[in-house]
């Protein structure tokens, strides 16, 4: 099954829900306009469909490691060179380092395409962008001049070396050592694991960003510094010099995303890898967090994107596969399974969530752009708070649901779905990591109730829920077909408010209680905010249907999908509310020994 970029929905979300025209008026984005974005979307879609999607199955066969070198799956290196030469890496990289400096919103649309087409591949440029962001914000002008232009062009790729065998979610445990060489460089020794695209054959150089600790640094998170450790040292004239003492000693055998090599990196086996300090000593973790927001939002997009691919695969199969007569039809002949009610339910469940997730993710990207560049400090701050609040929800909800949606994708195929050759299973396996890396769902949920909710006493949450309420009120005038949706959204938003109250009431005094229900709370917020976006989508679709030359098929489908969301997804909020408000004690009650 070939992937086709859902350009209509992407354009609808960009223009109707994520305010693309307004984003193009923000300072720094004046070169951007709707026609340009249209052209970019068309060409990116061609690339995703024509180059990246066809090699996705090859990637599933995995990479090979030999003598500290990784050979990527067939077609990956060529595709990367085309990707690099086409200039896609630098789409949202700053203009001063050779990027195009386009809004995060526009970048998100293209990144969705890369992720749907080939999730494993998409991680290489995504990590490069994260590294660019960190270096651009915090490194010296010298380091920026040496590394950024060639990273923004895609000539070199970037990685994040955070995790160690004993330092996963808790980076305070980082042990990798940095020693000042006295000549402006540091000698790095230690081992890092789970380094995505840590070694490969697609680019001339790999720029590792490594968290390490100086011998005399304070304990814990306040003693961690950030270093650039290139695979090849860079000479003063910009040419590549000696091979640095940073080697990939093995790659992991994984459940999914087999196309992306996950490296075990060893620094300093032969005396010490040369590293360059980024910014100031002992501030490394903070620097990492500046790009964490964007990275987490990116993983949220990954979850939605892999769901989209699974959905397209399932729809194609459901149209083709003929099995059993249609229930209630006088025709005795077997019918395509898309006619069977439960298959339709599965496909609608996939579709409705994907559309809501796309809308919420793009909405968040707009807030990210406003937080970065809005000329009014108040709007800037308001949007930053919005971004902070929405990101754990988009990351956690999109990726948790990606597991369910890709599982439904397998289910639609019946027994064929369990057979690897069919292709549905790869999406299911590939989706699994998204709820884990860049912070597991549990970490996102804790971040949500603590740093994002309790720390500001729920101000942003209440403001967002008030907006949801306002949109629900507008649905009241939107005709009979949306009344069930309106009622469900009203109930759900009230339940969400009571859950916010519950978290705030207990977080200071007994944090274990709301923490026990934090993932259900995150999911609840996802469903409610997804419902908010679907309500906005339905209202926009109704308005557009009244226009001349309206795309009736698309807009009608949007209204039906919104209705389905209201009738099938929003009611789940009631169950989650019970678990959040009343289920904490049973989570905590069982004696550890009894597990």
């Amino acid at each position: 099954m070939t992937y086709q970029v859902p350009l209509k929905d992407i354009r609808f979300v960009l223009s109707e829900l994520a305010e693309l025209p307004a984003v193009c008026t923000l300072p720094g984005y004046e070169d951007c306009n709707v026609e340009l974005v249209d052209a970019i979307l068309d060409e990116a879609a061609k690339f995703a469909e024509g180059v990246l999607a066809p090699i996705n199955r090859n990637g599933d066969k995995g990479n090979t490691w030999k003598d500290y070198q990784v050979t990527t799956a067939e077609g990956f290196a060529d595709a990367y060179h085309q990707f690099r030469d086409s200039g896609w890496v630098g789409l949202r990289a700053p203009q001063d380092v050779g990027g195009q400096g386009l809004p995060a919103l526009v970048a998100m649309a293209t990144e969705e395409m890369w992720c749907s087409a080939n999730l494993s591949f998409s991680l290489a440029p995504l990590l490069t962008l994260g590294a660019i962001e960190a270096i651009h914000h915090h490194a010296s002008e010298d380091l920026k001049a040496t590394y950024l232009p060639r990273m923004a062009s895609g000539e070199w790729t970037g990685t994040m070396n955070l995790t160690e065998p004993n330092a996963g979610s808790d980076l305070a445990q980082v042990r990798t050592k940095a020693v000042d060489n006295g000549d402006g460089t540091y000698s790095i020794t230690g081992q890092k694991i789970f380094i995505t695209w840590g070694e490969h054959d697609m680019a001339d150089n790999i720029v590792h960003l490594v968290l390490a600790r100086l011998p005399d640094a304070p304990a814990g998170v306040k003693g961690i510094s950030l270093f650039i450790v290139p695979k090849y040292l860079v000479n003063a004239d910009g040419t590549l010099g000696a091979r640095n003492d940073a080697r990939c000693v093995s790659i992991e055998h994984k459940l999914g995303i087999h196309g992306s090599p996950t490296a075990v990196m060893s620094f300093g086996d032969q005396g010490g890898a040369i590293g360059y300090l980024v910014g100031e000593l002992n501030k490394g973790l903070g620097y990492m967090f500046t790009m964490m927001n964007h990275a987490r939002l990116g993983v949220g997009v990954e979850g939605m994107a892999i769901s989209e691919r699974a959905y397209q695969h399932a729809v194609a199969y459901a149209r083709d596969r003929v099995q059993s007569r249609e229930l209630g039809s006088p025709n005795p002949a077997s019918a395509a399974i898309i006619k069977h009610p439960d298959v339709r339910r599965m496909l609608m469940t996939m579709r409705a969530q994907i559309e809501a997730q796309r809308a919420l993710a793009y909405y968040t990207a707009t807030a990210l752009d406003r937080a970065a560049t809005h000329p009014h400090p108040e709007e800037k701050a308001r949007n930053q708070a919005l971004v902070n609040f929405l990101i754990p929800i988009v990351k956690g909800w999109n990726t948790e649901q990606a597991n369910e949606i890709t599982s439904l994708g397998v289910q639609v195929h019946g027994g064929m779905g369990f057979i690897e050759e069919t292709g549905a299973a790869q999406y299911y396996r590939d989706a699994r990591i998204t709820a884990i890396y860049e912070g597991t769902t549990g970490i996102q949920a804790l971040d949500l109730i603590g740093r994002k909710l309790a720390s500001e006493n729920g101000a942003t949450a209440r403001a967002v829920l008030a907006e949801v309420k306002a949109v629900a009120a507008r649905l009241a005038d939107a005709g009979p077909e949306l009344q069930a949706f309106q009622a469900a959204l009203n109930i759900a938003v009230d339940q969400a408010s009571s859950c916010v109250d519950f978290v705030l009431a207990h977080f200071a005094s007994n944090p274990r209680l709301p923490a026990a229900g934090s993932v259900p709370f995150l999911k609840l917020m996802g469903i409610v905010l997804g419902g908010w976006q679907m309500a906005r989508a339905a209202l926009a679709a109704q308005a557009k249907l009244a226009e001349d030359g309206a795309d009736v098929d698309f807009l009608t489908a949007k209204l039906i999908t919104a209705r389905f969301y209201g009738e099938h997804l929003l009611p789940q909020v009631s169950g989650l509310t019970v678990a959040i408000l009343h289920g904490g004690e049973s989570v905590l009650a069982l004696d550890e020994a009894a597990f």
Binding site: M1, R57, D320, R321, M416, E421, T422, G423
Partner: protein
């Protein structure tokens, strides 16, 4: 008025598409004239006059017409066309190259690749890669038409006794010249673009038998060779032969599935073929659900018979 058909020929023989075009022309009127334009093409004209339904052969024999260059042929045809209601040629690369040039100089539309004649001015033709059939009506005085040859029967090559009339006036336009040609010999066509594909499945039993049974049939038909995933996995055929969801997607005019059960992944790669033939000993094999013609039987006995029949 009479109908003019432009014959495609190699100076000695009339190419078969001309015969189908004559049949299309007969649906427009009984007086069908055939233009044989070439150099040293008397033999072709001799063959032309015997085609059933042709009432007159126009023979333009000139050095400038040794190769069918549109630049040199066009003035001749344009000149003749003014005495005809319709000018037809087969929708081959020959006809497609020539007739639009003729039509433009007559200031008339050209009607491409008709598959049916509804009336003297109304025709059916495929658009959107054959996914839609359009019925079009021409308002021009002279209708210039190319004919999809597979849509019309071939006229009989004998039974006619047309008079041959020489026409003169052909000259070298001085715009183009023939350099060389390179005609495909027995090399098998590329799988994805082939008009006929013969595919083998696991029932072949071994790489040797795959080679011995599938390849001769493919060569006989001028076909590309394909294989099912099962046959490729078993090592009977190389990877690049694989047709299916994870292999190549093909849509030839004729797809012959030999010993292939028809797993859904295989069907995904060939179900858009125009005509599907299945040969399988399992009567219940799903491949028969999509096949236009099926033979239930052991491929090792059916294929030799098929080779014999094709040689007749």
């Amino acid at each position: 008025m009479a109908i003019l058909v432009i014959a495609e020929h190699d100076n000695s023989q009339i190419k078969s598409g001309t015969l189908n075009t004559v049949t299309a022309a007969q649906k427009l009127g009984s007086d069908v004239h055939l233009l044989v334009a070439g150099a040293g093409c008397a033999a072709a004209a001799d063959a032309a006059k015997q085609i059933a339904g042709v009432s007159k052969v126009l023979l333009a024999d000139a050095a400038a017409l040794a190769h069918p260059l549109a630049e040199n042929l066009t003035p001749l045809v344009v000149d003749l066309a003014k005495q005809y209601s319709h000018v037809l040629a087969p929708a081959t690369t020959f006809g497609k190259n020539l007739l639009p040039r003729v039509a433009a100089l007559l200031d008339v539309a050209q009607i491409s690749e008709i598959t049916a004649v509804e009336s003297a001015d109304t025709f059916v033709r495929p658009v959107y890669a054959g996914n839609v059939m359009a019925t079009v009506q021409s308002s021009d005085a002279i209708k210039v038409i190319t004919v999809r040859t597979t849509a019309f029967e071939a006229a009989a090559v004998s039974g006619g006794a047309a008079a041959v009339e020489a026409v003169s006036g052909a000259a070298d336009a001085g715009l183009s010249s023939f350099v060389s040609q390179e005609l495909t010999v027995s090399d098998r066509p590329e799988l994805a673009a082939a008009k006929i594909v013969v595919s083998g499945g696991r029932a072949l039993g071994s790489a040797e038998q795959f080679k011995a049974v599938i390849e001769p049939l493919a060569d006989k038909l001028g076909a590309a060779v394909g294989a099912s995933r099962a046959a490729v996995d078993a090592g009977y055929a190389p990877n690049d032969y694989q047709v299916g969801q994870t292999g190549k997607v093909v849509a030839p005019q004729l797809y012959v599935a030999v010993g292939i059960s028809g797993a859904i992944q295989h069907l995904a790669g060939m179900k858009d073929s125009k005509v599907i033939v299945a040969i399988n000993k399992d009567e219940e094999a799903p491949i028969f659900q999509v096949a236009d013609y099926g033979i239930v039987g052991d491929l090792f006995s059916v294929l030799p018979e098929l080779m014999t029949e094709l040689s007749k």
